[in-house]
């Protein structure tokens, strides 16, 4: 219920704030935090925004970021299987640095209609534009490995398969939504919105989004990482108890 009220009031608040703000584009998420609890099975976040004059909007969610707030991604190794004596085994590999754990994008029109290829490349807009820097390779065809990385992450729902749709309500207000799978990595994400007019980015705004564990699942994770030995002993004791209870429960039959 509270979310609904927030969702209804947000655009109003955004419009009212426009004359005060010098920004040409403002946007916000309905919730700024994704909590991974035991019931978490992925989620959808709605983004609302407004522009002060007719134009196109592009929105990107990427992360997680390094503690400094810089967009530093993971180091990822892509391995290709090869056939040897009739058996498939790990063959050549390529190592990429700065690979985002999550990347989603939405736009009001197809990207190539509103921005030049150069601009898309510069701002890394679109899954295909992600800059994957190879630092180590045992195969010459690095592009194949990069394509495989994008394809696999797209299949997992971690990278946008296609550009999501930003819909305008009238000329000023817009909204879109982003899907997060249950495997979404924890951390601080960056949400960016761009206002595009005549093939140029005329304004932009960015703000953080927090993805963290909460409740029982957070407690288990923290315990496992803080005191592994006690956790292991607890796991064994739990197993012994379960086995004994099961025996008692079934003995009479």
């Amino acid at each position: 219920m509270r979310r609904w009220i927030a969702a209804l009031l947000l655009p109003v608040a955004l419009v009212m704030s426009l004359p005060v703000s010098a920004k040409d584009i403002v946007a916000d998420l309905v919730v700024h935090r994704i909590e991974i609890t035991s019931g978490f099975a992925g989620t959808e976040l709605t983004l609302f925004g407004a522009i002060n004059e007719k134009g196109d909007a592009v929105a990107v969610v990427r992360g997680p970021t390094a503690p400094g707030g810089n967009l530093v991604g993971d180091t990822v190794e892509v391995r290709r299987k090869m056939r040897n004596l009739g058996i498939w085994m790990s063959g050549a590999h390529v190592r990429f640095e700065n690979v985002p754990g999550f990347y989603a994008i939405a736009a009001s029109r197809p990207l190539e209609e509103i921005l030049t290829f150069d601009m898309l490349d510069r701002y890394q807009l679109g899954t295909a534009e992600l800059k994957l820097a190879a630092t180590e390779a045992t195969a010459p065809n690095i592009a194949d490995f990069a394509a495989a990385l994008l394809r696999i992450r797209q299949k997992l729902g971690l990278y946008s398969t296609r550009v999501g749709h930003i819909s305008f309500i009238g000329e000023r207000l817009f909204r879109t939504s982003f899907n997060f799978p249950s495997t979404v990595p924890t951390g601080i994400y960056n949400v960016e919105v761009y206002l595009v007019r005549d093939g140029k980015i005329v304004d932009a705004q960015s703000f953080p989004l927090l993805v963290n564990r909460a409740g029982f699942s957070a407690d288990i994770y923290d315990f496992a990482h803080r005191n592994g030995a006690a956790y292991g002993v607890l796991a064994v004791l739990t197993a012994l108890l379960f086995g004994w209870i099961a025996h008692l429960a079934f003995r009479r039959r």
């Binding site: 390094a66 391995r79 379960f242 086995g243």
Partner: protein, 320 residues
């Protein structure tokens, strides 16, 4: 049609987020896997790790978490199984203890070998080949033996069975009397079996009962009824040791996943134990041989068939 839709929505909506595996999975599927493997565990006295690990990986649990968590779940299933066998006086604790001594020594050395293989790369391949070779050969030998035994039973029923076999092992020193197993043999034999199985189980990430049970039957000549309870008894300690070791070194034991699998597993193991007590030993062995061969066949297929995705992505971590 609408009702069916509602039921399927409800079923597929029963997702639970696993905190260590960091993935959300269907709780009904997890309970079914636990129950199915538990049934086999109670039936044959094996931990079921050789089945559980591939199944968990198949539904999306990271391999490291699958291997570590199944050890914990096997502890629970084995306790429930041992208690059931103990109540029928089918556990040789003395034999279990001697096997365990060799087992702990072997698994410690196995962990070292595992580390060495990991450094050379291709550890996954070594594990897969080890599975196919051991499961394939054990399954084949067991199947042939069980079929022969079944034929013999049919041909001359009531023929007097030999109490024990005399072979080279009778000449070994440190002879010990195992009353429950009706054996008077050298302690070096069960220790050596425990040791070898310990090494294999550490490398393959399983309890090793599928190696232990045939060795106890064919090498030691223990009665099949005693073998299962004794093997389960021994597995409790080896797997408890592995659970703590994994928790300390890799933080890969998922308590929530283990509890769900256990819930399904202990129920399955109870039914398996009851069912197994009613089935003739030869049929039981043939059935287990077929399960082992099926798993070996599946793994062999994965090794030689063209993979659907030729590439694999491994996250090595963020440079912080």
């Amino acid at each position: 049609m609408n009702g069916l839709q509602a039921i399927s929505d409800w079923f597929f909506g029963l997702q639970i987020y696993l905190p260590i595996a960091e993935v959300s999975l269907n709780i009904v599927v997890l309970l079914a896997i636990g129950g199915g493997v538990g049934l086999l565990s109670g039936l044959f006295g094996v931990g079921g790790g050789f089945l559980m690990t591939p199944l968990l990986i198949f539904i999306g649990v990271p391999p490291a978490v699958a291997v570590a968590t199944q050890s914990n779940q096997v502890v629970a299933a084995s306790v429930s199984g041992v208690l059931a066998h103990w109540s029928r006086d089918n556990v040789d604790f003395k034999m279990g203890g001697v096997l365990l001594g060799g087992g702990l020594l072997g698994s410690s050395i196995g962990v070292l070998i595992f580390g060495l293989l990991k450094r050379f790369g291709q550890i996954d391949l070594v594990i897969a080949i080890a599975y196919v070779v051991t499961l394939g050969s054990i399954g084949t030998v067991m199947a042939i033996e069980a079929v022969n035994a079944l034929r013999k039973v049919r041909r001359r029923q009531g023929a007097p069975a030999k109490l024990h076999q005399h072979n080279w092992a009778q000449g070994l020193p440190f002879k010990m009397r195992f009353r429950k197993s009706r054996l008077y043999i050298s302690a070096t034999l069960p220790i050596a079996i425990g040791f070898v199985v310990g090494i294999m189980s550490a490398i393959m990430g399983v309890g090793g009962a599928f190696l232990m049970v045939p060795a106890m039957i064919y090498l030691l000549g223990m009665p099949t009824s005693i073998v299962i309870g004794t093997s389960l008894f021994q597995i409790i300690f080896v797997q408890a040791y592995v659970t703590v070791l994994q928790s300390v070194q890799n933080q890969t034991v998922d308590l929530l996943l283990a509890m769900i699998l256990t819930l399904g597993g202990v129920v399955g193991a109870q039914f398996g134990g009851r069912w197994g007590a009613r089935l003739p030993a030869e049929q039981l062995r043939l059935l287990m041989a077929l399960v082992v061969l099926a798993v070996a066949g599946g793994l062999l297929y994965q090794l030689v068939a063209m993979p659907r995705e030729l590439y694999a992505v491994i996250t090595l971590g963020a440079p912080r």
